[in-house]
């Protein structure tokens, strides 16, 4: 019966849409234009779409940077995004779109990411986006991780769903997450409940140092991580006249930095900690009244990571108390560990085997990094759903997050084929 499936998408359409998206990169929780594009296209294909504040709880949002949000919002308005749509978003981004076939069947979700990376795209004329005239038009921002491609595939997949609506059963959910960089979107999306009814959940990523021709369907060693910003508040005084009056937030932060880096190893698994950025103080001759730092911890398991963060907070708060200051620790991002479900792995393996440009399908790789899809996966699994994470190898021009990043565009067809195959497997009408 497979022969009867309709495919309305030409492969050059995948690349064309990716180019459009690539030109207008938006960082985490500032993806207003990206959200608008997705909403319009998905509604056109008959999906029931919710965006931004329509489903995300504002209090759950982590790591939005006001300056970036405001700039992107202003840009989106200038670009012509409709006021009505922006009103629906209510200052938040992200999309969940559902296609209900009206027939009994499983709920299958596929997730992609909306945000870009904060990096200036290379000016090298040999860089394909430059050569092709579709480089980033927002200085300081670039789709340097492949999320442009992921979106292009998903929005075209919606066309395929509509075209084949009669052949499908169950419900299809397309989930477009903001703020994956910094692991800022997973937790808010999980808490919104968008995956609570999902039976099968898939997240796909291109690249990831996997060679072209290989697809991985059960990667391991996703690291749990917590990103946090720490704010130390003291009070100022003239360092010459009344040094005893001030409450030295710079010393509190410096003491905390040393103690954070000295968090103990863990006997049961790998840990990491970093104080990556710190700023403290005002004038040269003023006892510093404020300090801020950006940290991250990691752990091989959720328990180890949670212990690392708990102890980090304890050390920061103690350091603040030492100097009569206060410390506020705000979580800015979170990703978890990951264990693929055999049923989902099996489906992914079958789907990948027949996809174009695939020579090898393998189960394991050490991911050795973090993706907050894991937060959604845990939520799905906690309710009895099945999930896996699929990596589609590709030869990269430069590594992820680098100014010259690019992947082989033919692998968009691989992603598209895998996604279609997954839906056919789970939702083909009997």
């Amino acid at each position: 019966m497979n022969e009867s499936w309709i495919d309305p998408v030409k492969s050059e359409e995948l690349a064309a849409l990716r180019h459009e998206i690539h030109r207008w990169p938006e960082p985490g929780w500032a993806e207003f234009a990206s959200t608008a594009r997705a909403v319009e296209r998905l509604e056109r294909e008959g999906f029931k779409v919710r965006c931004g504040a329509e489903f995300v709880k504002p209090e759950s949002v982590m790591g939005a940077i006001p300056r970036e949000v405001e700039a992107a919002l202003a840009d989106a308005k200038r670009l012509g995004v409709s006021e009505a749509l922006l009103a629906r978003m209510g200052g938040l981004t992200g999309v969940v779109a559902e296609f209900d076939t009206g027939r009994a069947g499983p709920t299958v979700a596929i997730r992609c990411e909306l945000d870009c990376v904060c990096v200036d795209e290379t000016k090298d004329p040999a860089h394909r986006p430059n050569a092709g005239g579709w480089a980033s038009e927002r200085p300081g921002y670039m789709h340097a991780c492949g999320h442009d491609g992921h979106q292009a595939v998903m929005l075209n997949l919606a066309r395929w769903v509509r075209a084949n609506a009669d052949r499908l059963s169950g419900r299809i959910k397309l989930i477009m997450e903001p703020g994956e960089e910094g692991s800022r979107g997973g937790r808010p999306f999980a808490e919104s409940g968008v995956v609570d009814d999902v039976d099968f959940f898939y997240a796909l990523h291109v690249g990831c140092d996997v060679p072209a021709g290989t697809v991985i369907v059960a990667p391991e060693k996703f690291l749990c991580t917590t990103k946090a910003d720490l704010f130390f508040k003291g009070s100022p005084s003239h360092a010459g006249m009344q040094p005893e009056v001030g409450r030295n937030a710079l010393l509190a932060a410096s003491t905390a930095a040393l103690a954070l880096m000295a968090l103990p190893r863990h006997g049961s698994g790998m840990t990491r900690v970093n104080v990556g950025w710190m700023q403290a103080g005002e004038g040269r001759n003023v006892v510093p009244a404020s300090a801020e730092m950006r940290i991250e911890v990691r752990g091989e398991t959720e328990a180890i990571n949670a212990l690392m963060y708990r102890e980090a907070v304890r050390r920061a708060e103690g350091a603040a108390a030492m100097y009569g200051c206060t410390a506020e620790c705000l979580v800015k991002g979170e990703a978890l560990d990951f264990k693929a479900d055999p049923e989902a792995v099996e489906a992914a393996e079958a789907a990948a085997k027949d996809a174009p440009y695939v020579e090898r399908v393998e189960h394991y790789m050490n991911f050795n990094g973090s993706d907050d899809a894991t937060v959604l996966v845990k939520r799905v699994q906690a309710r009895g759903g099945r999930a896996t994470y699929i990596v589609v190898g590709s030869t990269l021009e430069a590594g992820h997050h680098q100014a010259a990043f690019d992947f082989e565009e033919k692998h968009l067809e691989t992603l598209y084929a895998i996604e279609k195959a997954l839906l056919r497997r789970h939702c083909a009408r009997n």
Copy 2:
């Protein structure tokens, strides 16, 4: 013979010039318009004038902030400062003007300051500069220390010198120092040699918490101080993948900050130390490769201050070495202690007694702060010259460096009268 002295200056002219200067504040080593005004006026009065690079050694300049210098230079050009004059300055500021009477006699120098403070002037309509329409036109900058008045007095004094040229002997030097704030101008001016031939040296300041009606002619307890910027260089690595590869400059700086604040007290006199500002690191997940901090030390004597700075450098360098980093310590400002010479004090006392609005002339006050006039004073004294520092009390609207700072303008007349009297005392032709 005193009756025969000519006075070409009306008291409202002092205030008017102060208002003009107040409107265009320029920070340390960026006083291009201020320098230009002074050069033009002083040359008009027959002084032999040198400015900027004509006498300052570029390598001696401390604490110029490139961003501020460039902005002020661009503003000065827009304002119409002549290219020829800017060429003479050669990117540096400051003025030394000499009036040689051609007759044997002492060399008498008076010093004022050119720079403003980095503070936004209050918008309060009751603030006199606002009411009078002569508030700062450069946001973020304000003459909030009285240097505008000092300059206005000195430039008018030049008119008096010319008018009374026949009655004077010896040589009169007017010294207009850039970058007094942060103690950045004294050392370079001293090293330029501009006071090496000076027999009598006077620096005057309005305000300083001295009550209106009082003049102090031999203040004490000027604190020696060294201001420095410290740069720590390490190298980055991915904090998750290769934490062992990076060289952590943030830890070096934090360790140094703690150790600097723990510099020991001194058994023989007061000390101070402050790490007022610090920034370190790049991204949250990168081992920090750079850090910068702004510090100051103080000591009751030159020896104590020098020890404090020497030990600060030792601690910074050791901290850098701990983490495989390097530390660079750049002196950005310097002021010394101060001991008035009896001959100069006597002259100042006599000059102040007859000045308008003066009720009391006193010798001592605890200055409890720093002024790099002390560096020039030491240079003068080392060559056998005499010097003192004169404080003219005034009721202030708000303290020095505050957004609502203002002094009683009638005290410009006091300053002007004292300066004239000092010149008459030392240089009156027999």
Copy 3:
């Protein structure tokens, strides 16, 4: 009428008693034999005597070292100190003896110290105690501060009081304080109330770098100080197997040490801080579960010193909290600042002028150290009494607290004469 005073004491008796005391030095709060000697002699002279727990509140005692107390107690028993007397002491030391003339008049107190220093007396045969056969018989302990002489004078003074009882009015209090070294006895004695009824209070000291022939009657710059021991408690774990389980008291203590030394200077006066000793940890491969440190702070005024100690405690407790440990801060000694009362100074001046071997009586010297007589002085002054501190200069063989310390024994006569003269002045019967 002065001629009629009786003097039952020969000058060689002062030296002889000093030698006896010198042979048996006892450290702070362990002066059992010294207390016994004093009690017996003072009761023999008709004084009403209280000792140890008869008036000292056990809970007020600071800085007693159990090991030293036990050793001295055992030694005292071996030496033949009566069980009855030891029972009266109740494990505590110190003496207050009162001679009530039965006639109206002021209460005059003189205070001396009972304790020795923890230093091994030199073996140099030229050292007078060695030559004379009266060197310390308790290894590790020595009367190296002059307290042996102070006691010898006071116990002989009691003989003089009894001999002249008919000529005296008012009440005479002889106060023999334990644990002056480390400032451990003053506070408990003050809190016992022994000086609460005192009208005139005098503490005398020989030496103190004052030249022989000079007596100082109104010394200045006594430093306030607080001595404290800090105990950090964590919990152990195997550093290789379970490094995350332990609570690292060594890190808590190290963090505290840095932060204590970084306590800010004070704008209103001199401060000092020292972490003089620290021990932490158990085995090389165990996460350290305990740490201990000995610290002191000083301040030019009581308020500054109190702030220093309060902030020290804050920093120690905060550091403990950082690492999940607890900190206990126990005050082990305390001395205050000092201001002599004119009436007492006048009396001391008069008394000193006529004493033997005195060439000069001066008011001021910078004491630049601490003596917890100041705690008693404050208590006296708070109730309207008058007090001063008297230093009797003497040529020292070696400085205070050194193994070869000795003073000129003839100055015991000076001390004795001054004490008699003070009593005659205040208590001579009209």
Copy 4:
């Protein structure tokens, strides 16, 4: 031909000798009586024996504690160890004994340990050594790791070798290493060259949390470790009078402690670090002039461990430099990672299979600890020899290094049987 082997050892003799050794425990590099016993017994069996300074280079010795060495030496003299033997030892301990069959064949070495642990043996009457009257007679020391049993087996094995001399070929080396605790003996023994001619090398250990009945013949995850003592030297001064003069070794050590615990994780493998003990300073009011700490680092590989130690030294030296102090870092112990050779594993497996009380022979266990036999193993392997480490499981009364430690004595027979079988396999005369 196996049937013809002679066994002169009764199993109760193994236990009896163990009891004798257990009564007289000696710590690392202080095993004088243990060395004497071994020399006498091994020479009696015809071995060529060298001991102490006869082969160990004094400059290679690590971690000997003078106080312990002196005490054990004095005890050994009292015990009647001959002067001649002590002279041969030359102040050092350890034994290497060689039996040359005079026939061509491999050189086979077995290694055991001489030293005890610094722990007080329990007084519990149920503890077998107490019940049997063979508990430790040296308070503070106990054979709480099984080394008494290892020695007892080896010394009886020598009897077997002599009894079967005609049946053997090649050379048999019995190596009795001092100071295994703290990994202090392996490196000096390796550098002495005693294993340079060894073809097969075996080290055996009883217990190690392996269940009774199981023998492990190819354990993994031996951790590389370096133990070091760090000495910081500064200079003292009076903390009140001249705080600026001292060089604060306590601050240097505290700064180092924090930085050591903050040594970065390693991307390629497990690391550990501990500052287990620290002492600093002299008196409460003296700027601390000295500090000492005991540290250890570990790493999953030799390269990682070496990096950890190199960086630890860098941090300690930098911290010392910060405060004008010096740091001396002395290695006190060292163990390496370990990889068993298949030939040795095969031999061990075969030997273990037939030993009494053995139910299971397994290859792998995670050793998760350190044994400096690994240093000897690396030396053997570097010259082409083969080696493995054999763990003989046993039910322990309490864990290794605990006061109630004991193993099942029947397993001495297992060890003995394995050692015999290894010699038969490699050295049986054809």
